[in-house]
């Protein structure tokens, strides 16, 4: 059913009502990476950030509170699961929902940071992520109105989706943290807890990869 010459052959599809998650060679590769990173963020302990006292040769290692780690870890795993959903789902609306979930969990991961600078950046990024829901859902609405379906399986290869919907979809995912808006993300990443912070960047890159595939396929 799904054999586009864009992302390789279909390997497996899960008939799950109207939302059919499917694995092509492409999405299966992405899903494998997501699983690896979920495992890393679930089981790895955070690093201890070293701070240098400028003007001297002293340095000290920051300690992370156990309670902060727990929340970040939970949110990182949630973020990983949302990314996994976004990667394997076979439905445009479902994809946009997972994208929004990724946006929220991304901010949650750094919510425990004590650094004012990081929190400021997270706030700005949160505003963008919030605005981004408008183009995201707008694009899903336009796709449903103009084609009558949201299933990527049905839409694949039809070329029926208008350019406007594709542009809005890309723009929406961009709002979840893609260049050239990376500056917000770059500042956020100064927060500590490597396995969790890594997830912020990882999830938005995977969203970007998946949206590229969707836009090319539909």
């Amino acid at each position: 059913m799904f054999d586009q010459n864009i992302e390789g052959a279909e390997l497996f599809a899960l008939p799950f009502g109207d939302i059919v998650p499917f694995f092509s060679v492409y999405t299966a590769t992405l899903a494998a990476f997501v699983v690896v990173f979920i495992l890393i963020s679930a089981f790895d302990r955070p690093e201890r950030q070293l701070n240098i006292v400028f003007g001297g040769d002293a340095y000290y290692a920051k300690e992370i509170k156990e309670s902060d780690t727990r929340f970040s870890r939970f949110m990182a795993i949630a973020c990983g699961c949302a990314t996994l959903g976004a990667v394997v789902t076979g439905d445009v609306f479902n994809f946009t929902l997972f994208a929004v979930l990724v946006g929220i969990t991304n901010i949650a991961i750094v919510a425990s940071a004590g650094n004012r600078h990081v929190l400021n950046a997270a706030f700005q990024y949160g505003i963008v992520a919030m605005i981004a829901t408008v183009p995201l859902f707008g694009s899903a609405a336009i796709i449903l109105a103009t084609t009558g379906t949201l299933s990527i399986w049905t839409l694949a290869g039809m070329g029926a989706v208008p350019l406007l919907a594709k542009a809005l979809l890309i723009l929406g995912v961009m709002g979840e943290g893609i260049a050239p808006l990376y500056i917000g993300k770059a500042e956020i990443i100064r927060a500590q807890g490597a396995p969790f912070v890594l997830m912020i960047h990882f999830s938005s890159l995977l969203l970007f990869l998946r949206v590229t595939e969707i836009v090319l396929v539909i």
Binding site: V25, T29, L198, F202
Partner: protein, 280 residues
């Protein structure tokens, strides 16, 4: 399979050496011998290695494995003639590796490298526009279809010239000493991999050799076409030398200027794609 991996790593590291040599010669220095990077890698392998106490151990080790896996996968992709889009995905995932390497140790120096790597994430955008343009022209992203297309219609280099420029820029931003290589810039010690030493450093060196080989091979394969292994290797060598020339005579841009230049390039190509798709 393993023989391809080892051979590709070997050639890639040799290309790195040639790169350094050409740059040195252009700048009027004698430069290191061309097998310097190979020796480097072997030297690092034989060094004492451990994991820093402040590091996040899992990430610290896993990123090394992941970087090898990513570029092995990219090589396998070329061998099995799978999708170009998947290659794009692997390239983007390489960003995570850079990032993870920088963050894992907790050292402020490598963290700077990691933050720059996030900032320079715009370097993926030209590749995206390149892939989209190729899809628009050939109607397929499978490498085998692209080869068939080129066997009939001649090299893509002329038909999809903007895509070639974009991919060239992408390779340029991944090569050492280039105008866009802010991530490995020397003013932040060794960039993101400052804290990876010994075995880890050696293996990463090998993985990055593999990366250079795969990227250059893709360029030749996609834009010039199936021309046999010896000619392809010659093409890779010529491409590498041209890249070294660019690296030797251009200064490094500041991080945000890099982002702006790459974004503008992508924007121009995107406009060209929309023009092709809508009006032509």
């Amino acid at each position: 399979m393993i023989e391809y991996i080892i051979a590709a790593m070997f050639i890639g590291l040799l290309l790195h050496g040639i790169h350094r040599k050409v740059i040195a010669r252009i700048q009027g220095r004698p430069g290191p011998p061309i097998w310097q990077e190979l020796l480097h890698t072997l030297k690092f392998l034989a060094k004492e290695s451990w994991i820093p106490k402040t590091a996040s151990q899992g990430v610290y080790v896993a990123v090394v494995g992941i970087s090898i896996a990513i570029w092995t996968a990219a090589l396998m992709l070329l061998i099995t003639q799978e999708s170009l889009l998947l290659l794009f995905a692997l390239y983007v995932l390489h960003k995570i590796v850079e990032h993870g390497i920088g963050l894992a140790s907790g050292s402020p120096y490598s963290k700077f490298g990691a933050i720059r790597s996030v900032v320079s994430a715009a370097s993926e955008l030209p590749l995206l526009s390149s892939v989209a343009l190729i899809y628009l022209i050939t109607g397929s992203l499978m490498l085998r279809d692209i080869e068939t297309y080129q066997a009939i219609n001649g090299p893509l280099l002329f038909v999809a010239f903007p895509a070639a420029i974009a991919l060239y820029m992408v390779i340029l931003s991944k090569i050492h000493y280039g105008p866009f290589s802010i991530v490995e810039a020397k003013e932040i010690v060794s960039g993101y991999w400052t804290e990876h030493f010994g075995v880890w450093r050696g293996l990463m060196n090998a993985a990055f050799g593999l990366k250079t080989f795969v990227l250059l091979y893709t360029f030749v394969m996609v834009f010039i076409g199936p021309i046999g292994l010896p000619l392809t290797l010659l093409g890779i060598l010529i491409l590498m030398i041209s890249l070294s020339f660019v690296c030797a005579i251009t200064p490094m841009l500041s991080p945000y200027d890099t982002v702006t230049v790459q974004t503008i390039t992508t924007g121009l190509i995107a406009i060209y794609i929309i023009y092709l798709g809508v009006f032509a």
